[in-house]
């Protein structure tokens, strides 16, 4: 793995990557409600979407992990993907900047358009795509370098700065946006891994936004953080949503309720319901959504 990959990919954890479909969804079969394939209740579509996704299917070998999912993701919205373990929400998220390319047995079908460009087109430059669609992972994964170099890494390899002063500006601006400047400005050249978990995660967000992406994908960004660090990251998400489209996968339903404007509920590879977050958490349309958010599964 070269450093270029590391910028946007988390360290591969084989057991996590290769078997997501084999994880059981506990007790889901006991529910009387059924999902109809390709049928999503609520409001999955938007006018003038950032991402237009149609009939998306993802296979791991023979196993179909995502089943005929169609969804629009609006500009500058925060949308949360929720659902039980193994429902496909992370798999679906990873399609959006082609993170699944690195898994040999994974195939993606359907139409995935970012601003009317097919992101799975054979001539599509994946590095450019990942600069436009950044990603933040569950565990903070800073490079074992200085704070400054972590943030400056992306702009350097993408040639976004011509002079040292420009690079300094990008680093400061990114750290400010990530709410980390005051804590980091006096120790920019000390090693990033010496920071606290919450600071490291905000550093990863600063690193992701340093290349001026249009979309930021977040895969359970707070699950390794304490409540105060979580609150800071959530605050950051709502600030960032003014200029970026944010898609967040989370296991914390309260977090989805707090940060997102729309919520999408996945179940066994189906997209069951998409609605305004306030609607989902007060009166969801689908029985399965209700069972899940009220804690009635397994």
């Amino acid at each position: 793995m070269n450093m270029n990959d590391t910028l946007i990919s988390e360290p591969l954890e084989p057991q996590e990557m290769s078997t997501p479909v084999n994880r059981p969804v506990e007790d889901a079969g006991a529910q009387s409600a059924k999902v109809e394939e390709g049928k999503t209740v609520g409001k999955p579509f938007a006018d003038d979407p950032k991402f237009k996704l149609r009939n998306v299917e993802v296979f791991y070998g023979q196993e179909r992990a995502i089943k005929n999912v169609s969804l629009d993701i609006g500009r500058n919205e925060v949308i949360a993907f929720i659902g039980p373990s193994g429902c496909g929400k992370s798999t679906f998220l990873r399609c959006l900047n082609r993170m699944n390319d690195s898994i040999d047995i994974c195939r993606v079908k359907g139409q995935l358009m970012l601003d009317d460009e097919d992101i799975y087109h054979s001539k599509k430059d994946v590095v450019e795509l990942r600069a436009r669609v950044g990603m933040v992972f569950q565990k903070p994964n800073p490079f074992p370098k200085s704070i400054y170099d972590n943030v400056a890494y992306g702009p350097r390899i993408h040639g976004l700065a011509n002079r040292k002063s420009e690079l300094d500006d990008i680093v400061e601006d990114s750290l400010r946006k990530a709410g980390l400047w005051n804590e980091a400005k006096d120790r920019l050249h000390s090693i990033a891994t010496g920071m606290s978990g919450g600071q490291q995660q905000r550093l990863c967000i600063a690193r992701a936004i340093a290349v001026s992406p249009e979309v930021v994908l977040m895969d359970e960004p707070c699950s390794a953080l304490d409540p105060i660090a979580t609150a800071k990251v959530e605050e950051l998400i709502s600030e960032l949503s003014e200029s970026y489209t944010i898609i967040i996968v989370t296991h914390s339903m309260q977090q989805a309720a707090r940060v997102s404007s729309r919520t999408a509920y996945f179940h066994l590879g189906h997209l069951v319901e998409v609605n305004e977050t306030s609607k989902v958490f007060t009166s969801p349309e689908h029985e399965l959504t209700e069972s899940y958010i009220t804690g009635r599964f397994g």
Binding site: M253, Q254, A257, F281, T282, S283, P284, T289, E290, S291, I293, T294, G295, R296, F297, G298
Partner: protein
């Protein structure tokens, strides 16, 4: 729509959560039936001129007030500890609001008991009691149905209660008119007729509270707040 009781008070992964919601439900109904009995006793005290029974109603109002505080406290605790969502959240919020209506019904029962005491001390031939009996039967049935609608999660029954309220309002107007006639016939009736008028007014208010409770039941079951919307829209919602 009718929801299955088990689907609301059961099925959580957390058994304690199931128990919390079930006990909230039980306590609310306990308060509801207690308030209903208060009202029944107040009316009976009035009809029979039974001062002793009227006193009992006035004393029991303290228990009703205490239940209100306990249920509110329970609801707040559930919100703080469980962060309920969807149907669970609607249940807790609806109970908190309905409890306020029940407490007011309790107050109306107390007012009626007070009038019953005053009237029994005067001890004259009753005027307007036919109207009181009629309206009180009607609003007691509404209150009963509203509580049943909550117990069975039955929004159709709740809607029927809301429709009944229009009829009670008409009956109240008619009763007021006939009491006015008695007062005009003989001015010595005025004091007594005014007491009966207050009773009628209290009963009419009970009908309104039964109606409010029904609105919250519909919110709970259907997930939509139907206050201040035309009844036809509610019919469409409930009948779908």
């Amino acid at each position: 729509m009718k929801k299955d009781n088990n689907s609301v008070y059961g099925g959580h992964t957390s058994h304690e959560f199931n128990e919390d919601l079930a006990s909230l439900n039980a306590d609310f109904l306990k308060m509801g039936y207690m308030v209903r009995d208060q009202l029944t006793n107040a009316i009976a005290a009035l009809m029979d001129g039974d001062g002793f029974r009227a006193d009992e109603v006035r004393n029991n109002d303290k228990i009703v007030d205490k239940l209100e505080l306990e249920i509110d406290d329970e609801a707040v605790r559930i919100i703080a500890r469980r962060q309920p969502a969807a149907i669970d959240l609607r249940l807790v919020i609806a109970v908190m609001k309905m409890v306020a209506d029940l407490e007011r019904v309790g107050d109306e029962a107390k007012k009626i008991a007070k009038s019953a005491l005053a009237l029994s001390e005067e001890g004259q031939a009753p005027r307007g009691y036919v109207e009181v009996r009629h309206i009180s039967n009607h609003v007691l049935e509404m209150l009963n149905d509203a509580l049943d609608a909550f117990a069975r999660l039955d929004s159709e029954l709740a809607l029927r209660v809301m429709k009944e309220d229009k009829i009670v309002d008409e009956e109240y107007k008619a009763a007021t008119r006939s009491l006015l006639t008695f007062m005009m016939e003989d001015t010595r009736n005025i004091s007594r007729c005014m007491s009966v008028m207050w009773v009628l007014r209290a009963l009419e208010r009970v009908g309104d509270h039964a109606c409010n409770i029904s609105e919250h039941v519909i919110f709970m079951v259907e997930g939509e707040d139907i206050r201040h919307t035309p009844v036809e829209d509610t019919e469409k919602l409930v009948g779908r």
